[in-house]
Symmetry: C2
Subunit: 243 residues, 2 copies
Amino acid sequence: MNPQSALAPASSDLADLIARTPARHRTATGFVEATLRAAILSGRLSGGTPLRQEDLAAAFGVSRMPVREALRQLEAQALIDFVPHKGAVVTEISAADAADTYAIRLALEPAALALSIPNLTADDLARAADLIADMDGEPDPSRMGELNRRFHMSLYGRAGHPKLLALAESQLAAFDRYLRFHLAAKGPEHLSQEDHRAMLAAAAEGDIGRATDVLRRHIATAADTIARFFAERLSAENPFAAR
Amino acid sequence: MNPQSALAPASSDLADLIARTPARHRTATGFVEATLRAAILSGRLSGGTPLRQEDLAAAFGVSRMPVREALRQLEAQALIDFVPHKGAVVTEISAADAADTYAIRLALEPAALALSIPNLTADDLARAADLIADMDGEPDPSRMGELNRRFHMSLYGRAGHPKLLALAESQLAAFDRYLRFHLAAKGPEHLSQEDHRAMLAAAAEGDIGRATDVLRRHIATAADTIARFFAERLSAENPFAAR
DNA sequence: CAGATGTTGATTGGATCCAATTTTCAGGTA
DNA sequence: TACCTGAAAATTGGATCCAATCAACATCTG
């Protein structure tokens, strides 16, 4: 998998990705940043892919400048690394990185949930229930990631600490990079919907202890699934996954 | 406090700040980003200050381009907001924002400490002890912030999750924006050195429960101090602090 | 034939220039 | 006098251009 062959499909993917992205972003920089971010998180741009500024500029139909600014923002989000004279490369996913992400989720999300539960409204709980229902029949992994994120955030949303919530949400988004593997390992219908239901029930009763226990177990189980998946599949099939 | 009068001293401060900053950053973008970041975290550039690209470019002796890239990175770190045709403005500090930062610290740091303690070496503990000693006689608030951050990170450093550690460190750095107020309220010699010593002792014994308890209390106390400071001083003396 | 070396191509970092939009202030009018 | 209107100044977003640096490849030599 040399850079050339890796980039060619990525570029064509980008072209149609751009065509289907809603034109809600006013500035070119914001548009490029959001599109690239979505492409990386969804796995469309896989780890190690070099992103050359000129190619991106051509694909987006803009100059290199907004591309550069967007890349700087993605760098600040740890989604890419700047390698001098090589281009910005998408950071690799790995078992260790997944464990890292889960450790952060395990620290942040129970805290957010505990702060939020006392302030949850009936409306919040209804929306969360709706999202569980939506997830039940969702076959598309990237839609599933979005629904899963919205479900979790709907339960954390009343925590009252915007930065804490923003951090939790960005980690949930980072989790999307692994969701595809998770779904591949367990099948879409098994995305711990029992956990989601149990968490919602505990939250509805205002039982903070039980809700956070379920959440912690939920995250730990997911971490375990991914760790096993990496150990069993990727290391055998793809030697690059290990590094 | 109109934008003009606020900017003038900030610009001159920047000029001498630049003169005293070590020239370790190779690229102009990295240099600008690090310098501005330090200026914001240390309070030299206070909340609400507009940062006009042209002024910054002139102050740094570079063109507007590296300034813009640096500002994008700071935006991704939530230190500034882009306001069209007004310039990038430094985000405001407030009691609510401080509480937010402390909530995040309370979630991340005990988790990092618990993961790290089993792997701490005698060397790590010795360095932590040295840092406590250094803090004892340090009058400069910004040096103090650096030492405090290094002390905490020396105890978390063996947690083995780079992203978790990076997140914890960035939150500790964000705390620097409030450290000045903390020191003003309690005096430099009272920066909870007893807590630091107790935490180090528990860590040295491998007592995770006690160490994390001390840490939680340490952070909660600091949060309390800041909250009271904002309530008692700033709201009375400076109506802008409330918003 | 293997290894060192020089040259060329590719890629990024930075500077300058242009366009679009908003804010501000001066002037006129009810 | 207060308010509305319009023009100019200021500021950012984006494009194009130039310089510096590094990687790869062909070539030359021992």
